[in-house]
């Protein structure tokens, strides 16, 4: 479970970095994870208030809607906010908004639900059922195959809109594909394991440290493997130390990103 979740998050992060052409883009930083968890909170709480049963499919679907909503918002403002820094801040803010909605919901709900949601938001790869796993494997296989068919277009896309378009690549199609698949993978993992930070952000950068190839075709598998490794490692550590997995990835990931920024002084964000 940790393996698959980590791999999916790593790919989602890699695709979002491609989509926004920014090394700091990731599901957790741009608020997509928050959007997904807002969706989950809305459905689990709303439904329990009205006394409806909550199916896992509903949770996944609501998480998906939350994630895609945020991604779509970001993507629309991408054309209006020219600077990438502005876009990142926009993403962080939408994340805050989604978080606010979530905490309002938490305030209104009853205690039993609240504790369930708080446990869920700590993240754990234990909750997933075989059914969850099936969905995750399904969307992963589908998106990996689809994207591998676009490997050349993705490389061209990274060189900028103009260069890509001059090679006859539909930039609109590529960006929609990246957005949808990044959103779907984030949503499915979040619905099953709670919001998990940093795996999506760090995996592609760590993969570049140990793998030489740079084109999409060469890099997607190392990125996925790296994500699997990080998730498995954090999962094991969190079990041994009794720390929730979300805290674990943050404890390891945050200092790592700080160091990385300090080291890459010349990099343009």
């Amino acid at each position: 479970m940790a393996l698959l979740g980590g791999g999916a998050l790593a790919l989602a992060g890699y695709w979002m970095q491609l989509l926004f052409r920014n090394p700091l883009a990731s599901p957790s930083i741009l608020g997509v994870t928050n959007g997904a968890s807002m969706g989950v909170a809305l459905v689990t709480m709303g439904f329990s208030v009205w006394g409806f049963p909550v199916w896992p499919e509903m949770v996944i679907l609501s998480s998906l809607m939350g994630a895609v909503l945020i991604l779509f918002l970001l993507f629309v403002v991408r054309w209006r906010v020219q600077s990438l820094t502005g876009l990142l801040i926009f993403g962080v803010m939408t994340g805050h908004l989604a978080g606010a909605v979530e905490s309002i919901l938490q305030r209104w709900t009853d205690k039993g639900n609240l504790s369930g949601l708080v446990y869920w938001s700590m993240g754990s790869f234990d909750h997933g059922t075989l059914q969850h796993l099936g969905y995750l494997v399904g969307v992963m296989v589908l998106s990996i195959f689809w994207m591998s068919g676009k490997a050349k277009a993705l490389d061209a896309w990274s060189l900028g809109d103009d260069t890509a378009r001059s090679m006859g690549i539909s930039t609109q199609k590529i960006s929609v594909l990246l957005m949808v698949f990044a959103g779907v993978l984030t949503a499915v993992v979040t619905a099953m394991a709670g919001p998990i930070a940093f795996v999506g952000l760090a995996s592609s950068h760590i993969a570049r440290l140990w793998w030489k190839g740079r084109s999409y075709q060469q890099l997607w598998l190392p990125v996925m493997i790296t994500g699997m490794g990080i998730a498995l490692y954090c999962d094991l550590l969190s079990r041994c130390l009794g720390i929730p997995i979300n805290a674990m990835t943050s404890l390891i990931g945050a200092p790592w990103v700080m160091l990385w920024i300090l080291k890459n002084k010349n990099h343009v964000f």
């Binding site: 052409r21 990274s158 060189l159 900028g160 103009d162 260069t163 030489k212 740079r214």
Partner: protein, 222 residues
């Protein structure tokens, strides 16, 4: 990379800021080197983007710009893309059209002197190497026409000369080159100059072209 294609652009109106500029029907022959001149903000880039079909315009059909669209149109962009992270040879390989021809690929790499850095990340190479890499990518596309937007603006004296020489070689092979430029010395060496003025676009002969001949009244000193 040889051709005897004539390119005819359609007449249309383009919006630059708040001004409407009328662009006449123009014809460019094979191997012609065409400069686009105009002051900053005059609309050189907008004109190029219209010709590439990237700006939707109701006064012309979206992609019906060039007479022959079956041949690829090259676009040379030498400005660095800070996020992109590919190997130099990956970038060149993006230009491959149809079946991969390893011999042609190697000859382009050696022609642009990229063999030594082919397995380097594009983030670690110099601006001049970057330009050569992008040139090699365009050459792999084997276009019969190449458009460029101020490709030498940030380059040093040596690479400006390198680029000009490259353009001359392409032109001798029959490739039409259209390039927006601020470099008056280079513009003088072209076959013809498209001058973007305040309200219209005119064709100038390059011999007697000066920037003063452009009729940009809106920013003249009063």
């Amino acid at each position: 990379m040889s051709s005897n294609l004539k390119y005819t652009t359609m007449a249309f109106h383009m919006k630059v800021g708040k001004r409407l500029i009328s662009v006449p029907k123009l014809e460019f022959g094979p191997g012609q080197v065409v400069g686009i001149a105009g002051k900053n903000g005059a609309g050189k880039t907008v004109l190029l983007r219209h010709w590439m079909g990237w700006i939707e315009n109701s006064s012309m059909e979206r992609h019906g710009l060039w007479l022959d669209l079956s041949k690829p149109i090259g676009w040379l962009n030498t400005r660095r893309e800070p996020f992109a992270d590919l190997w130099v040879e990956d970038v060149v390989a993006l230009g491959i059209q149809g079946e991969f021809d390893p011999q042609a690929f190697e000859s382009v790499l050696s022609e642009m002197d990229l063999q030594g850095i082919r397995n380097q990340s594009m983030n670690t190479i110099s601006d001049g190497e970057w330009m050569r890499m992008m040139m090699a990518r365009v050459m792999m596309q084997k276009p019969s026409i190449i458009l460029m937007d101020e490709p030498t603006a940030h380059l040093d004296f040596y690479y400006k000369g390198y680029w000009a020489q490259w353009v001359r070689i392409l032109s001798e092979k029959g490739v039409t080159v259209i390039c927006a430029s601020h470099d008056e010395a280079w513009l003088k060496t072209t076959d013809q100059i498209v001058g973007v003025n305040d309200g219209s676009v005119h064709l100038y002969s390059s011999k007697d072209f000066t920037f003063e001949s452009l009729k940009n009244v809106h920013d003249s000193i009063k």
